[in-house]
Each structure stands twice: as structure tokens, then as C-alpha cells.
């Protein structure tokens, strides 16, 4: 495999928790992302899954430079994005699609304006060529050219998500980070957007970080999957391995919790139901962050912080993995 297009080395995003209005005092730290290392190959789709609050979206925003990394580095094609000087130039190669297409488009801009704005800002082409590029982008995502003068409220959720994807493609990025791009959509519309993303990755040679909480969607689209829990990656491997043969106790529970559209199987299947809610990242458990909800936890799990290590063809972060 050639050099990765995007590489994360021990990325941390911590938020200070402050008390007081005038005399602010830091009383704690939320470790939303706590030491994540990942690499993304050219043309690869990497799925990122986990419960709400596990740091998926914070990680996405840190990669994008929308949130400052408090530690570690993000490398895009050999440029260090966490060094301030590199950002403006590199950001063209890195674009984001957000979850809610009702909130991520400016209601006062027509589709044509929305798609033209990045081209104007980055002065990539002469002004006279912009309308042609806008039409090309709209065609790429299946928005008819006659609709370019319309405003976002005139479109359905699926069409708005297409516009948001076209906007992300305007600057010919190499990497797209999509944060739950289909969660707000109905099943039949979701299928359209998934097909579109798969086609764009194939035809344009894009790399994609695809964040979702729906494991069947992630498995369908991704080459590899990373499972996050409380700011760390607990399992990383090919999509088929991780979702069909999960190893980490948390991944096992997560996969087992997904309802399957199979009435007979659903009634006979033994489900692992996790007790309680995910712990607060403000006050994470000692040792392995999953140990309070893990049925295999021992005394050692309360004190030893596990790291990702190769196991069964993927990487797993669990000290007892060989025994369970």
C-alpha cells in the first residue's frame, strides 16, 4: 500500500471545564478525543462508529481544523495540519459533509450561490468559468440544472444532502469527512445518498471518513471500521471482520444491540444488553474506560490502560482479549 493520504498520530482534543464568571478557574478536563492514531489510504472508506458522546464528531472536527487539537498531529499528504501555517492551503483538499442538511445550508443563498462560494473564495478559476463548474457539480450529485436558482427550503432532505455533498466537492478535495450524512434521512432516501457516496469514491478516487451510528450502513460502505469508546479507539479492522466477527467486548455488545430485519432470528438470538449509560468523559473510569460495563472485567482492567494491539487480523484494545 502506498503512503496514507491522511494520518493521525496520537490526536487529543481536550476541553477545559471552568467555573465562575469573572474569576474563571479550571475545575476539570473533558477528554473528548484522547490519543487517536489512524491512517487513511487513497481511495479508502474508513467507518467511524460509537455511541453519542464517544468523540466521533469531535474527532471529525479536529481533523478538519474546526477544533484545535490539544495534542498529537494530523498529516495530510505529508503536510502537518496542526501547524497553523499549513491549514489554509491544505483545507482545500479536506472537506466536510454535516449531519443535518436542514441546518448546514445557508437558507438565504441559492444552490448556485452555495456551490460558487468556495470557488470564489479560493480563486481557483476565473469568474467567467464558475457557472459552468457549478452546473458540473450539480450534475455530479444529480441535482437538475433548472433547480440551481432555488433556495434550500424548496428541496427535500435527500436533495439538500446532495447539495451539501456537491459543495464539499467544489474544491476537488482528496479527502471527505462525512459526519452522520444519512442519519436524518428516511430509509429509501438514505439508500440514494449511500449509492451516491459509493459512486463518488469510486469515480473521483476520493478517500472518505464516514461517521455513523448505524452499523449496517457503515458495513455496507466502508473498507475498514474504527470503533470508538470514550475518546479512544477500541477496535480497528476491516469492515467485515469488525462487524461480523467483533472481538472487543464493547464491539460485541454494540453489534449485538443492532436490531436485524429478520423476525425469526430476532426472536431466538441471545442479545448482550449493556447495563447503564456510557460514563461521562469528564470523569472517566480508571484503567480501561469500558471496564464498569464489561462482563469480562477483572481487577487488572481497573488499573491497566489498554492499548491497541494486533489480534485476529485487526487491532483490539483489551488486555484480556486472548482469554475471552
Amino acid at each position: 500500500m502506498s503512503a496514507p493520504i491522511l494520518e493521525l498520530r496520537n490526536v487529543q482534543t481536550h476541553f477545559p471545564v471552568e467555573r465562575g464568571i469573572l474569576f474563571k478557574k479550571q475545575t476539570g478536563t473533558v477528554k473528548a478525543v484522547d490519543g487517536v492514531s489512524l491512517s487513511l489510504a487513497r481511495g479508502e472508506v474508513l467507518g467511524l462508529v460509537g455511541e453519542s458522546g464517544c468523540g466521533k464528531s469531535t474527532l471529525a472536527r479536529t481533523i478538519m481544523g474546526l477544533l484545535p487539537a490539544t495534542g498529537g498531529t494530523v498529516w495530510l499528504e505529508g503536510k502537518n495540519l496542526t501547524a497553523a501555517a499549513a491549514i489554509g492551503e491544505a483545507r482545500r483538499s479536506l472537506q466536510m459533509v454535516f449531519q443535518d442538511p436542514f441546518a448546514s445550508l445557508n437558507p438565504r443563498m441559492t444552490v448556485a450561490d452555495t456551490l460558487a462560494e468556495p470557488l470564489r473564495v479560493h480563486k481557483l478559476r476565473p469568474a467567467a468559468d464558475i457557472p459552468a463548474r457549478v452546473a458540473e457539480l450539480a450534475a455530479l450529485v444529480g441535482i437538475p440544472a433548472r433547480n440551481l436558482g432555488k433556495y434550500p427550503h424548496e428541496f427535500s432532505g435527500g436533495q439538500r444532502q446532495r447539495i451539501a455533498i456537491a459543495r464539499a466537492l467544489a474544491l476537488e478535495p482528496r479527502v471527505i469527512v462525512a459526519d452522520e450524512p444519512v442519519s436524518a434521512l428516511d430509509v429509501s432516501i438514505q439508500a440514494q445518498i449511500l449509492n451516491l457516496l459509493a459512486r463518488l469514491v469510486r469515480d473521483l478516487g476520493l478517500s472518505l471518513i464516514f461517521i455513523a451510528h448505524d452499523l449496517s450502513v457503515v458495513k455496507h460502505l466502508s473498507d475498514r471500521v474504527a470503533v470508538m469508546y470514550l475518546g479512544r479507539i477500541v477496535e480497528l479492522g476491516t469492515a467485515t471482520d469488525v462487524i461480523e466477527r467483533p472481538q472487543h467486548p464493547y464491539t460485541r455488545a454494540l453489534v449485538s444491540a443492532v436490531p436485524r430485519p429478520d423476525p425469526v432470528g430476532e426472536r431466538t438470538r441471545q442479545r448482550i444488553v449493556l447495563a447503564g449509560d456510557p460514563p461521562s468523559p469528564l470523569n472517566p473510569p480508571s484503567g480501561c474506560p469500558f471496564h464498569p460495563r464489561c462482563s469480562f472485567a477483572t481487577e487488572a482492567c481497573k488499573s491497566t490502560v489498554p492499548t491497541l494491539a494486533p489480534f485476529a487480523g485487526r487491532e483490539v484494545s483489551c488486555i484480556r482479549i486472548a482469554q475471552i
Binding site: 430509509v187 429509501s188 451510528h213 452499523l215 460502505l221 444491540a257 436485524r260 430485519p261 444488553v273
Partner: protein
């Protein structure tokens, strides 16, 4: 006699001189203890069907009509307001989709939990609080005695949904309407809530109408499923039959668009076009415009009616009924 029998329910909204037919002739019945799934896309009329039955829609703009909707002998469409108040929250309860917005942020959980008891039963405040505490424990809230007097903001999403369930079940209703109760929750918490609903249903013997757009959730929970499209029921069957042998082209299309049922990486089936505009007349089958099997006969005449094709299995596709597809 079924617990609930709905005949030709029609709900329309009159806005700016336009009539939107959100529910367009829905008929079904529900036995005691049965779990009925109601599936369909946003705007298909799932929620409006249920809120119409409970008469929770302001009128105007809503206009609710129908032959009847008998709940244990009482016609919900024609009951007086006082009769409705005695049923709503006591014999029929509802859980709403969003636990973040359906609790009153200014009231302690305890006050909100005992409110239905104080209204519907002759019970002292102390006994009501005891029942509330027992219910909090039944829905699996740890340390219930201390958390009973908390405010909603002190609870996580999953805990709030448990409180909503406790509130709906505290009066031991005969019918629970659950409107996408797990859509806003994580899968691990969703699994907890679904197990809880199943367990409490077994214990209380209540009937459940479960609204969802997630066919996976419906597969595990429901006995029978109704598929809605554009305000009409297009197919109804026992859950196993619906997944094994879907007959209506819309149900088939829904199944083919779920990634979990398709080989990895393959092209997912997508429906062309958009759901119809419910303010315009819809001659024939509402799905015809998007249907790959539509024939000229599908686009004319009255709406096709549900016809049985097997025991407990009915659908509203004239071409499938004629054996052409």
C-alpha cells in the same frame, strides 16, 4: 371483541385554503395484548393516525372523520371531552419520540410521574409516590429513591426515555402507543428500552401500537405490521410473513433499500421520485408514480382496497392481487 377497532379513519389539515389528507381511509383492529407495528416514511401518516385516535390534534386545522374507532365499546371519534380525558393517560398512554422535549423541565420527575395517578385514581400523594418509586425501579433506573426528586436535565437521554415509559405505564394502560420511542437513542440504549417494553408488556398484558421507520426494530418486537404510504395502509401481515413474502411493491422496495439485507458494497435499490403531494387528488394507487410495476389501470379510479392474499395477510396492489407481479 378486539380492544381497538378503527374503521375508515380520515384526518385532514386545512392550511391556507389547501386540504392535506394526512390519513386517508385507515382501518385496522387490535386484540388485547397484541403488538402492532406501524411503519412507513416520514409524512406517511403513522403518527397522525395515532394522535387522531387520542384526539390530540388541534381542530382547526385538523379535521378527523371516520366511520368509527371503537376502543372497548367507546367510539373515540365521537366521545365527549370528559370521556376522552378519562381514557387518555389512563387506559391509553402514549410515549413520544423525543425524550428531551416531552418532559417539563421545570417540574421534578416525581411530580410528573404521579400526575396521571392523582388525576385518574383516588390515591393519596404518599401512595402515589410509592407507586412512582416502584415504577422507576421497574424501568431500571438505578438508585431510584434518590433520583425520584431530580429534574429532567439531571438525566441522560436513555434515562429520560425510561421516565417517559414509567409515566405512560404507571396507570397500567390497556393500550400503549409508542411513537418512535427509540429513534433518538443509541443502539445500546435502544436495546435496553426495547427489552424493557417487551418485559412490561408481558407483565401487564397490554396491547402496543409501535410506530417506527426501522424495520429491524419492528422485526424483533411486533406480532403484526402495517405498512403505510401517503396516508393509506398498503400492506398488513404477520411480521414473519411480511419479511419473508412482502407482496406490495412499496414494501418490497423498502426491503431492498435496507443495507443490512443486501450484499456488502452492492448498489442499493432506490425509489425514483418523491412521496406524492397530499394536497392534490391521488387517483388510483398513491404509489403508482414511483412503482416499477405500475400499469395504466393503477393510475385511475378509487384507491385500491386491502384484499387478503393469505391468512392474516392483505395488501392493496391491484396487479399483485391479479397475480400479474
Amino acid at each position: 371483541m378486539p380492544l381497538l377497532e378503527v374503521q375508515d379513519l380520515r384526518t385532514s389539515f386545512l392550511t391556507r385554503g389547501t386540504v392535506f389528507r394526512a390519513v386517508d381511509g385507515v382501518s385496522f383492529s387490535l386484540e388485547r395484548g397484541e403488538t402492532l407495528g406501524l411503519v412507513g416514511e416520514s409524512g406517511s401518516g403513522k403518527s397522525v393516525t395515532c394522535t387522531s385516535l387520542l384526539r390530540l390534534l388541534p381542530s382547526p386545522p385538523a379535521r378527523i372523520e371516520g366511520t368509527h374507532a371503537r376502543f372497548d365499546g367507546t367510539d373515540l371519534l365521537r366521545a365527549t371531552d370528559a370521556e376522552m380525558r378519562a381514557i387518555r393517560g389512563k387506559r391509553i398512554s402514549m410515549i413520544f419520540q423525543d425524550p428531551m422535549t416531552s418532559l417539563n423541565p421545570y417540574l421534578r420527575i416525581s411530580e410528573q410521574l404521579i400526575e396521571p395517578l392523582l388525576i385518574h385514581e383516588k390515591i393519596s400523594r404518599k401512595d402515589a409516590l410509592d407507586r412512582a418509586l416502584a415504577m422507576m425501579e421497574a424501568v431500571g433506573i438505578n438508585d431510584a429513591a434518590n433520583r425520584l426528586h431530580s429534574y429532567p436535565h439531571e438525566f441522560s437521554g436513555g434515562m429520560r426515555q425510561r421516565v417517559m415509559i414509567a409515566m405512560a405505564l404507571i396507570t397500567k394502560p390497556e393500550l400503549l402507543i409508542a411513537d418512535e420511542p427509540t429513534t433518538a437513542l443509541d443502539v445500546t440504549v435502544q436495546a435496553q428500552i426495547l427489552e424493557l417494553i417487551k418485559k412490561l408488556q408481558r407483565e401487564l398484558g397490554m396491547a402496543v401500537i409501535f410506530i417506527s421507520h426501522d424495520l429491524g426494530v419492528v422485526a424483533g418486537l411486533c406480532d403484526r405490521v402495517m405498512v403505510m404510504y401517503a396516508g393509506r395502509i398498503v400492506e398488513t401481515a404477520r411480521v414473519t410473513d411480511l419479511f419473508r413474502e412482502p407482496r406490495h411493491p412499496y414494501t418490497r422496495a423498502l426491503q431492498r433499500s435496507i443495507p443490512a439485507l443486501q450484499p456488502k458494497g452492492g448498489e442499493l435499490y432506490t425509489l425514483p421520485g418523491l412521496p406524492p403531494d397530499l394536497s392534490k387528488p391521488l387517483p388510483g394507487c398513491a404509489f403508482a408514480e414511483r412503482c416499477e410495476f405500475a400499469a395504466p389501470a393503477c393510475r385511475t379510479g378509487p384507491a385500491p382496497v386491502l384484499a387478503p392474499c393469505a391468512p392474516d395477510h392483505a395488501h392493496a396492489c391491484i396487479r399483485a392481487q391479479a397475480g400479474e407481479i
